[in-house]
Structure formats: structure tokens, C-alpha cells
């Protein structure tokens, strides 16, 4: 049956005089497959669209039949080949952009750039009075402290041992004294900044003290009931 169809198409092709159909789509597909590697991505796409349309015109138009499965599969293969070739073309561009074929040097350069970027994002040096050395002078563990003198990840007071509370409280006290000394000689604007730095120190110290006192006397843990106003301040 296929042979009869094929023979019928051959006869009709010989007798037809359609200027748009000059050869079978299979022949066009073969020519495209031979040239596809040399084409640009855009030309590949254009030629594939042309071949698909030509195939529809030939089979569905001239011969009034569905496009054969073999032709559909050939078109699919050509599309996949075109996509792969486009990918390889882009890859060539990427390799050129990155300096050509890779070597150990390429890796070393990437490592150096990473190192340089890490250095760039390191924090700026702290002011003298809160540099790690200064922090150590007031008996604090500098590595665990933020610029404002607070522990980086302060533990919840209830989870701390009494010794830990005492240690951190001493550190906070040292920090507070340091800030107070600065406050004395500071200008108005600087004082506002220092007050901002003092606030978390004071709050943390208060939290620790409350917890510590609560261990000595559990009642202290409870918030005090506000005293009745008697109409004047003490």
C-alpha cells in the first residue's frame, strides 16, 4: 500500500505544475541535515520552519494526506539537532568569554577572586575604644561581642549558670563604664550615639541582674505591682 501511495505521489509530482513545490520534503530534509551545522541559530530556525511548512503543503496540500510518521520524526530529529548545535555555539562563546580552554590557572584565578571578594565584605575596623584589644582590656571576650558591647547571640538569662551571668554582668559593667567615660567628653550629637549604645547594655544588665536576684529570692522575678500614686514624686 505504501509503495502504491509512493508511486501515486511520484506520478502526481511529475504531472503537477506548482511553482512552490519542486522536490519532496524528504529531499529538502536531507539537504538541510547536511548544511545545518554551518548555519547560524537564526538560519537553522528559519529553515526548519520552512521545511515544516513545505512538508504540510506537499502532503496535506498537493496529495491531500497526513504528513507521514517518518517525515514527522525526521523533523523532530532535525529540531533536536538544531537545538544541540545552538547550545554548542553558545558554549563556544562562553568558553571564549572565560578566557579559552580551562586549566589549573582558571581555577586558581577563581579562588583568588573569591578570596578578594571575601576580603572586601569584611567589616570595617571598629573605633579604637571598641576594638577587640580594647574590649579585652575591660575583661571581655572580644570575639563574642558586637560593636555595642553586647554578646553576638546573647543567651537567654534563664538558661545561663550563675557564673555565666556574673561574668557577662562584669563585662557589661566594664562596657558601660567605658561608654560613660566617652559620654563625659562627647559633643551633643556624639552623646546621642553613645546613649544608643548604652541602652542595650543597660537592658541586658537589667535582665541578668533580675535573673540573678531571682535565684537568690524567687519573688524578685515577678514584676512589681505599680505603687499607688500619691500625687507627688519621691
Amino acid at each position: 500500500m505504501a509503495l502504491t501511495d509512493s508511486a501515486g505521489r511520484w506520478v502526481k509530482d511529475r504531472l503537477s505544475d506548482d511553482p512552490d513545490i519542486k522536490e519532496t520534503p524528504e529531499k529538502s530534509a536531507k539537504r538541510l541535515a547536511g548544511a545545518i551545522e554551518k548555519l547560524s541559530a537564526e538560519e537553522r530556525q528559519k529553515n526548519l520552519q520552512h521545511l515544516r511548512a513545505y512538508s504540510d503543503l506537499y502532503y496535506q496540500g498537493r496529495h491531500n494526506m497526513a504528513v507521514p510518521k517518518e517525515m514527522t520524526e525526521e523533523l523532530k530529529r532535525l529540531e533536536e539537532r538544531a537545538q544541540r548545535l545552538n547550545t554548542v555555539d553558545r558554549a563556544r562563546g562562553v568558553v571564549q568569554q572565560f578566557g579559552g580552554p580551562p586549566s589549573e590557572q582558571s581555577l586558581n584565578e577563581a579562588l583568588e577572586r573569591s578570596q578578594a571578594q571575601r576580603v572586601q565584605v569584611q567589616p570595617r575596623p571598629l573605633p579604637v575604644d571598641i576594638q577587640p584589644q580594647a574590649a579585652q582590656q575591660v575583661g571581655r571576650d572580644a570575639d563574642s561581642l558586637r560593636p555595642n558591647g553586647m554578646a553576638q547571640t546573647p543567651k537567654v538569662a534563664v538558661e545561663m549558670t550563675s557564673a555565666e551571668i556574673a561574668k557577662e554582668a562584669r563585662q557589661l559593667h566594664g562596657r558601660f563604664q567605658q561608654l560613660s567615660a566617652r559620654y563625659e567628653g562627647a559633643s551633643g550629637e556624639q552623646r546621642a550615639q553613645i546613649r544608643e549604645q548604652m541602652q542595650p547594655v543597660v537592658e541586658r544588665e537589667h535582665e541578668l541582674r533580675k535573673e540573678f536576684m531571682g535565684r537568690l529570692n524567687p519573688e524578685v522575678k515577678q514584676d512589681r505591682v505599680p505603687e499607688q500614686s500619691i500625687g507627688y514624686g519621691r
Binding site: A91, F98, P101, P102, S103, S114, Q117
Partner: protein, 66 residues
């Protein structure tokens, strides 16, 4: 490492293997760059189709680091 060794061109398989080793020491953009480079180098060397093993290795690295 001798100069000729640092300049020796990697095969795609060698490059992917070396990239896998240095990835943890790189910052994000450099990881992306090297993985793109590795895949591009593999594509250039295997224009027909990437070997399945190499493709899998690249996919694993891309999945883990990108």
C-alpha cells in the same frame, strides 16, 4: 606546581572533577561562573551529545551549588 602543569588544558571530565573540589572555597558568583564554564567546556568537546556520566556529574553539582 610547574608552569606547564598549571597551563595544561583540562579535558571536560578533569575540569568537572577539579571544579567539584574547589567549589566549597568559592563565593557564590564564582561558583556559578565555574559551573557555567565546566558545562560550556563539556558542550564544546561533545557537540553531538554529552556523555551521560558527565552530564549527571554536572547536574549533581549544579543541583547542589546553584
Amino acid at each position: 606546581m610547574a608552569r606547564h602543569e598549571t597551563e595544561r588544558i583540562f579535558t571536560p571530565e578533569e575540569f568537572v572533577g577539579r571544579v567539584a573540589v574547589v567549589l566549597p572555597d568559592l563565593v557564590g558568583p564564582e561558583r556559578f561562573r565555574l559551573l557555567t564554564y565546566a558545562r560550556a567546556w563539556a558542550d564544546v568537546n561533545y557537540p553531538e551529545r554529552l556523555p551521560a556520566e558527565l552530564d549527571n556529574q554536572l547536574q549533581e553539582l549544579e543541583g547542589a551549588w546553584l
